[in-house]
Amino acid sequence: MTETEFNAVGADIAANAQIPDDISADIARFNQDGFIGPIKLYEEDEAAALIREIRIRNQDTSEALYKNSVNYDRHFDIPELSRHVTHPTIIKYLTAILGPDVLLWRTEWFPKFPGYKGTEWHQVRDYSYASGKPQLLPTESDWNAYIDITVWSTFTPATMETGCMQFVRGSQRQQIFDEHKVTESGRQEGYDVAYANTGFFGYNFSDFAIEPGWEPDPADVVQIPMNPGEAVIFTASCVHGSLPNITKRETRFAIAGRYVPTHVRVYPDQDSFTAHGATFDLSEYGSVLVAGENRYDHNRIRTANNCGEEFRRY
């Protein structure tokens, strides 16, 4: 792919997207299992070109929202990410699961370098594991599995060797971890995510297990090998993790977008939070309306990234 061709891809993701017509079977499967994928978003060479540009742009953090080493919410300063998070195929699945009015509330990077260990089993509902306070608070319904949906897109091969994701099928219907339990690891400043030798980015997620030593029934464990340019969509309340990267030279690079219906309050009553060893100042933060309408006034909304580029809305 030439640079000109790449720029065409990076500049107008929506125009190049292949959107499936009928996703009803996928949604039924998602409702049963808690995850669905792989779902194709990009051709492999498009994915390679995108992640290359993202990794280059990552080196300039002058317009990043947070001044720390955790790459949260880089969709505000990396235009290719601003466009990726509103990929029309992603939005089609999200609106089928969450309803018509959808916010993007966070992006996160998941590089797994050669030799990195697997990510341990975890289950997340309101993200209070991170700081001790809920980061999401629904206002219109009791808790259900679909308050928050994650779209985990890989831009390199995610294989049994490089560290593909794995899920415990149907586990979103059980409470296996209680993220409100008190823990010290990860919640304090001083951990370096790149070097933290724990199974969950500075945390020990097993601290939150309701039943110490819990292990899934192997019959329920599903590994999802994926090609570059594919995504898996899941509720984080479905127990999930990833395999180790046992290769010598292949970095697995995935980026996750997290989405909620507009009735959910994001970072309720918080001006900042500390997680994964870093502090996040929320003064410039806002959720992004990626589909439908926002009929609430409880979340600050950002309509453009820090480069002045408007986010696409469907």
Partner: protein, 75 residues
């Protein structure tokens, strides 16, 4: 001369002997943690501080060596 030194640094940090000056850093299994060490060694051994985004953008030994040469010519 510059290319030889850069090649040697890449070889050491990537733990790789057999590659050409036109091979791409990412294709050789490079990532940001390795590039940070390469940057440190280029500064130490060639006396030039190359920004990380340039190291990633000029992602072959040949390209980054040419970039270093042009930086040294200007300075």
């Amino acid at each position: 001369m510059t290319a030889q030194k850069v090649h040697k640094i890449w070889s050491r940090e990537l733990d790789l002997q057999d590659f050409s000056d036109d091979d791409d850093f990412f294709d050789l299994g490079g990532h940001s943690l390795i590039m940070a060490k390469i940057q440190e060694n280029i500064t130490k051994e060639l006396g030039v501080e190359v920004p990380m985004d340039e190291l990633f953008r000029q992602s072959t030994v040949a390209k980054i060596s040419a970039h270093i040469n042009s930086m040294q010519a200007v300075s």
